[in-house]
């Protein structure tokens, strides 16, 4: 993306210039008003402080967590918005999956409390300094953090709940003639058929 596609030379220049103050950043304009920043985890607080203090990034839109088990990492994405520049900055960091601990940014952004609590509940990450890591949604859940990739939600459901067995008359009639259900929907889910077709 060339800077001309971005919201305006002055804004992009402002941001690009400002972000030079933090070391180890890789920035990329992925769309007009969308700036992606990849950076080492330890640099994130400095970046956010800079953005909030100098470019009006007062709005933390969300913190998203992505599980990358093959890389042994969690990706955390901090989506912040400036009501002055009207540009969304998405700051991507990666932290090791084990132990899965990171710093809270609650002292910079109050909404972080909700997102960090949510990520803790769903992915099992721990945010040091977050005000409340208590359960919120999964109050009665004792299993592993369900959004982790190793938790197979579908398998759990299959184990937990049965399929309704229906005996309608039409089916009895067809079975009497030698027919019947040839492929159940559950055969399509997960396991592959005998001949390998999904």
């Amino acid at each position: 993306m060339t800077p001309t596609d971005a919201p305006g030379h002055d804004v992009t220049t402002t941001l690009d210039f400002l972000l030079q103050e933090v070391d180890g950043l890789r920035t990329r304009w992925v769309a007009p008003r969308r700036l992606r920043v990849d950076l080492p985890a330890e640099t994130l607080p400095a970046l956010l402080e800079l953005l909030k203090g100098r470019a009006g990034y007062v709005h933390l839109s969300a913190i998203s967590c992505v599980d990358w088990p093959d890389d042994g990492q969690f990706e955390l994405v901090y989506h912040t918005w400036s009501y002055e520049l009207n540009v969304l900055v998405m700051a991507h960091i990666r932290i090791p999956r084990d132990p899965g601990v990171y710093l809270s940014i609650y002292d910079l952004y109050r909404p972080a409390a909700f997102f960090e609590r949510d990520i803790h509940e769903m992915f099992g990450l721990w945010f040091e300094g977050s005000p409340d890591m208590g359960k919120f949604i999964l109050t009665e859940w004792e299993g592993p953090p369900p959004m982790r990739k190793e938790f197979d939600g579908e398998a759990w459901v299959m184990e937990q709940f049965g399929w309704q067995e229906y005996r309608p008359e039409w089916l009895t009639e067809i079975e009497a003639k030698g027919g019947g259900i040839s492929k159940r929907p559950e055969q399509l889910r997960g396991d592959k058929g005998e001949d390998g077709t999904a």
Binding site: H59, L60, R110, F114, I137, F151, G153
Partner: protein, 380 residues
């Protein structure tokens, strides 16, 4: 039922009480609980409790094909489902590099604004009911039904439209549809004086809402509040105007604000927004017949559709505020990750707890509803 909800606890006689709002439809749109601690009739502490509507949408979406998820997303916010469908579709389109045809974009805006009107009518009704006024609720729901009729004709479904699909929309407008949209707009417009008379100039409501649940602009920004709740503190920010998507930049509309930041200001903002939505819809009805062309970009066979590796954050302005989807593709035929950022996640938890604390018990319901929280957005 959760253990703490049914275990009888004997307290020594005191002025301290614990009162549960919810979890069965505590006056807001879905099951949710607010536990407040009272000293006399004053709230001394409050604790929001979610999870009653958790269906694990984000996890479910990881196990379904890109297209299949269109049947899931509207369920994340029942009263205002269209922004969910559009926001998800926008994300897939960005990842897949799909160009949405112009006609489809206009049809989407039409649905989005109809959905906003329906949601606001619903909210007015519920909000009035918190002060014991039930007529606005009956009216609001009856008038909202006329919009649901329009959705039913367009999409075949009254509430879960499942009408937007990555690439555009699933059907073109039925014959004479815009005329019926226009008629419905006329009717709703003709009802606005009735609503003003019944609710917005009604001192019973006005006085019960004024000065209740005050949030300053500084607090709102601090807490990440968006949408009408933010605009009721004087900040004129609207995703439609300031981070435009679809064809909103071709439309004329105002972003109404109020300064007071109380329940009444929030209600007034919604009332003014409803009029702006009518204004937008008038423009859509006028322009749409001129815009020909396909209603959907060509998409591959949904059973064999890989999206390129990448991620995208799309947002739209729902009736509750800034709705965003963060979607990650690992190059496969299903999402690797979908994160739904419901606007209510902000104002239904921290903000609600703060605003309720210090309020009187009779205002708790008013505060809850004036924030227009949608619990399924929080629970997902």
């Amino acid at each position: 039922m959760r253990p703490e909800n049914y275990q009888a606890v004997s307290h020594p006689p005191s002025h301290e009480y614990e009162v549960f709002f919810g979890p069965n439809h505590p006056g807001i749109e879905g099951n949710y609980a607010l536990k407040v601690r009272l000293h006399g009739d004053e709230v001394t502490a409050a604790r929001a409790d979610g999870g009653y509507l958790h269906r694990g949408f984000e996890k479910l979406m990881e196990g379904r094909l890109w297209i299949q998820n269109i049947a899931l997303v509207p369920r994340i916010c029942v009263p205002d489902p269209v922004p969910m469908e559009v926001c998800y579709s926008l994300a897939i389109e960005a990842l897949g590099g799909l160009e949405v045809p112009e006609r489809a974009q206009w049809i989407r805006v039409m649905q989005l604004e109809l959905s906003r009107i329906a949601a606001h009518l619903f909210t007015f009704g519920g909000n009035a009911a918190t002060t014991g006024m039930y007529t606005p609720m009956f009216w609001g729901i009856a008038d909202r039904d006329l919009i649901l009729d329009l959705f039913e004709e367009l999409s075949g479904g009254r509430v879960y439209h499942i009408y937007n699909i990555p690439g555009g929309v699933r059907r073109d407008l039925p014959e004479g549809y815009l005329k019926r949209v226009s008629d419905t707009l006329d009717y709703i417009e003709s009802r606005l004086p009735d609503y003003d008379n019944l609710m917005f100039t009604n001192q019973v409501f006005v006085r019960r809402a004024t000065g209740v649940g005050i949030m300053t602009q500084e607090q709102a920004l601090d807490w990440g509040v968006t949408g009408p709740n933010l605009r009721a503190t004087g900040l004129p920010f609207d995703v439609r105007r300031d981070d435009p998507y679809l064809i909103y930049d071709q439309l004329e509309f105002d972003v109404p604000v109020e300064e007071a930041g109380d329940a009444w200001a929030r209600t007034l903002v919604r009332r003014a927004e409803l009029k702006q939505s009518l204004r937008i819809l008038r423009q859509v009805v006028a322009r749409l017949p001129e815009i020909d062309g396909p209603i959907r970009a060509p998409i591959p066979n949904p059973l064999a559709w890989n999206l390129p590796l990448g991620d995208v954050y799309t947002r739209v302005e729902s009736s509750k505020g800034e709705l965003a989807y963060y979607v990650v593709s690992n190059g496969g035929d299903k999402p690797w990750r979908v994160h739904v950022r419901g606007p209510s996640a902000m104002h239904a938890v921290q903000v609600l707890e703060h605003l309720v604390t210090g309020a009187r018990i009779e205002d708790v319901a008013q505060i809850m509803f004036s924030l227009d929280a949608c619990p399924p957005e929080v629970d997902r």
